[in-house]
């Protein structure tokens, strides 16, 4: 939980905002674009970049916690 919070906190504000609107408020990409008055393409790429960053940071963390192979 802490890890996700930290990873979320590490995102640029505009990516975090788009992700939060998508997940916590359940808005679709075009609804987010409308809400933020941003082009749809921008919103799409922000969400994708944010998701990839979260995925990578979770994966990295997972790998670091796994015992090293002998």
């Amino acid at each position: 939980l802490q890890r996700v919070r930290r990873a979320l906190g590490g995102l640029p504000a505009e990516q975090r905002k788009a992700l939060k609107l998508a997940y916590y408020e359940g808005l679709s990409q075009s609804e987010i674009a409308e809400r933020l008055k941003e082009p749809l393409g921008t919103v799409k790429s922000r969400i994708r970049t944010a998701m990839i960053k979260l995925r990578d940071s979770l994966e990295l963390d997972q790998r670091m916690r796994e015992p090293q192979a002998p």
Binding site: L1, R3, V4, R5, L8, L19, A22, Y23, Y24, E25, G26, L27, S28, Q29, S30, I32, K44, I47, R48, M51, I52, L54, R55, L58, E59, Q62
Partner: protein, 267 residues
Amino acid sequence: MSAMSHGELRELASAYVLGALDHDDRERFEAHLAGCAECLAEVRSFRPVVHALARTVDSREPSADLRARVIGSATRREMRTTLASAAPPRSRIGTVIPWVLATAAAIALAALTPYTVQLRNRTRQLAAVVRDLSARLADSDRQLLVARNDVSLLAAPDARRVDLRGQAPAPQAGARAYFSRTRGVYFVASDLPSIAADKAYQLWFVLPGGANPVSASVFTPDAGGRAELIANVPAGMADPSVLAVTLEPAGGSPQPTTTPFLVGNVN
């Protein structure tokens, strides 16, 4: 609606697992997902992110403001009930009650609106969970299908076992294969040397009588030097006398270009 390339569709995966795709995109992506293992893997790769996000949302408390409004409206409703039951002279209070009721209803409604929004969000999140589960189920079905094929291949009446031995470039390597003309070839190798990213191993059907070898499959072993694959047997090909594995440029070669790493006779 314009056609989307595979790359464009693949880029929809992250928004799909969030449940944030617009209707048309979602339909397109789901239709594509049914037949694309790569996109399914992409969807799966985002699963830990969604699970992690779900855990952060579950721990959120309703805001103090919302709580105050809900408790406030409930208290007012109790007062209103007491007032109504203790009010026999209707002539005077009768005009006041409807106003009290209307106000209480308006306040209750105002308190409920954020709650409906929460419910709507929760529904969307659950829909995303359902989509995630169906993708997982499709994935399991696919794996089951592969496993069934494995079994039917091993049990095929014409299946022949091939033991491949490590040759000079990789004496420690070994592999076993089952060759069936009708079901294909199932191949498992172990202790293969790790290779550069621009290289791949290639499995060949070596034919009797000096005919050119036929490629069966191109593969890369995992970090432990293990590889497992199922390849089709080309229709009309003569029965191979030997299975062999060579090292080739990534993507494979039309004909083998190096000395074999593994060789085994098809009995």
